[in-house]
Symmetry: C2
Subunit: 364 residues, 2 copies
């Protein structure tokens, strides 16, 4: 159970609520006993989003796209958010080694606008196709004043649950196999995906005023366009990578909390750390936002993905095969660091301060 703060507020409160929700959920795990749908626990007793039905293991995960929706409202463009929604849940599943197969979505609106609903659902269809997933369910709820947003159009919040298939005989990607010397390969992501919008919006509004989205940004696009950049969906290609037999020890889907939290989480089982000595060069807009916001490098890498969308952890011997495979699939990827036996994550910053940043805690 996760708490995602799209406001960037009290992280401790978020963590307490997250733990509290997880502890209640955990108490319910035994209810299925030996019945169909029982909760599969990993070797270390933790939950890997897997349910057992007969000889079949099914994965399930839920997420939403937070306040990125405000950017779509500002730009009046609604056909790309489906890519963000699918990416959030599909890439969380594949990070556990689960092939995403279906997505059920819930759209809460203040009032209906047919054109906007059409653009959202058309985008969801396109993204589902790209992810090789069927849209297997949906609910649109009209909630009036319980939903707010920017401007005069239809306001909404959008979330989804994805289900997926965990092939028989495959090892669960819990990170237990991760060992010192393994390589960390990064898949480049254009833009923020669906996290870190609170900080970005605050900085832009303070610097550029309420219509910040229409102001030209550093890369020949408006700030609205830059922030609305749709998420890449890695899942089907990473599934093919696993299927090809390349030896992957773990994935880290870089969402809220950036590299430190998400890499940290998959390192917990092994107790290892990582030295990320060759981070990807960030898009210019990150550095402009950093300057305007007076953001220290440590916060920069903790708040935003800094163009790292997915990390693949694998033994050195598998690196060339994986790199070729991902290049053929059209992804920009590169080895950015190594797993270390000592815990903690060290990142060579490409922010304005530069130098090495050390994050002590591995994951939340």
């Amino acid at each position: 159970m996760e708490v995602t703060s799209h406001l960037g507020q009290d992280l401790d409160l978020g963590n307490r609520c997250s733990r509290l929700a997880f502890n209640w959920a955990k108490r319910s795990f035994p209810v299925r006993g030996e019945l169909e749908g029982q909760v599969v626990l990993t070797e270390s007793g933790s939950f890997a989003n897997l349910l057992q039905f007969g000889n079949v293991r099914i994965g399930i995960t839920s997420d939403g796209i937070g306040t990125k929706i405000e950017v779509a409202e500002r730009c009046g463009r609604y056909d790309t958010l489906g890519f963000d929604l699918v990416a959030m849940v599909a890439d969380d599943l594949i990070a556990n080694g689960i092939e995403p197969t279906g997505i059920s979505n819930i759209l809460d609106v203040d009032r209906l606008c047919e054109t906007t609903v059409d653009a959202l659902m058309g985008g969801l269809y396109g993204a589902a196709l790209a992810a090789r997933m069927a849209v297997t369910g949906g609910e649109i709820a009209e909630l009036g004043g319980r939903i707010g947003g920017y401007g005069d159009g239809m306001h909404f919040n959008w979330c989804a649950t994805a289900v997926g298939y965990f092939p028989e005989g495959r090892e669960s990607l819990t990170g237990l196999q991760i060992a010192a010397g393994d390589v960390v390969l990064a898949l480049r992501s254009p833009g923020l995906r669906s996290n870190g919008f609170s900080l970005a919006r605050q900085i832009l509004a303070r610097r550029l005023g309420d219509s910040w989205h229409a102001v030209a940004g550093p890369e020949g696009k408006t700030w609205g366009e830059i922030l609305l950049t749709p998420s890449l969906i890695y899942a089907p290609h990473l599934y093919d990578l696993l299927k090809s037999g390349v030896d992957v020890h773990g994935f880290a889907h870089v969402t809220g909390g950036g590299i430190p939290d998400n890499l940290g989480r998959i390192l917990r089982a092994s107790g290892c750390g990582a030295t990320i000595g060759d981070t990807l060069p960030p898009e210019d807009f990150f550095l402009v936002l950093q300057e305007w916001g007076g953001i220290p490098d440590r916060l920069l890498y903790h708040s935003w993905n800094m163009n790292h969308g997915m990390l693949v952890i694998l033994p050195e011997a598998a690196l060339n095969g994986a790199s070729r495979f991902l290049a053929d699939a059209g992804f920009d990827s590169r080895a950015i660091g190594r797993i270390t036996s000592s815990p903690g994550i060290v990142i060579a910053s490409r922010g304005r301060e530069g130098g090495e940043i050390r994050y002590e805690r591995s994951g939340k």
Copy 2:
């Protein structure tokens, strides 16, 4: 794909958006082809919420509890909403013959309140236990001004996706087996479940003012308490009923649209109609709301469940067995009508007007 209007507004627009979302989703069904997770279509080519993984069929459905949350905010009581959330999705699955096994929930909040989150998640745990489901996932998203509500506390919207198991060899409950002469058995529901709140709230606010929830109602409770009455969860008992071998031809989970829409939907495949000659006596509060709102009987049965939570359609020969089974499970149930060969649904009203109401259209 459903559109649930919790505002009671433009139903045509809702239906158009619902069709539009479904048509986009349907275009995605072929994407899994013969792969795991393919979408199962019924004999008549429609979608019954089933996905095929190897020899296992998995059901999936999503829903939320709409503006019933405002009543909880008014009463300051949060530990019963979990029963409403589980009931919405679990009882939708069992209505398709699918045993609910797991639930993944998404809680969108304006800002976090630990006490409220604890009450919600504790209630969800209790409801999941009652439904024999594991809480297999969760996400809490802080969304600030995108979420609104009543009073000063944490505001939120809450939705969930349930997964379930469809036993091998079982017939899908698509309603094709329904035939003239079958009996309609009703399971009594106290209160509104999670639909029809818009109309009820409007009437109460107009009659009693903004603090209507604190005013004493007709049954020794406040109006807030009456409207907050938690949903019964029928699913595990109906699953046991199916497993016991009782011959059930169909279920209708009475949600938005009342008996006409929900019974109508399951009657579509057979082309049958129904005469409901002995509706359950409604709780007093329904009649008080009817009077205050000047609601015609036709709208009454179309807006609210009128204490019918679930309808079971079965051959006459199965009636005694089913009734005994449900009584032993602690449910108040009764035969209320019969399936007819001619389409349309006729309801003997127990509203203030009385007499017979004829609904021409079968379902949305």
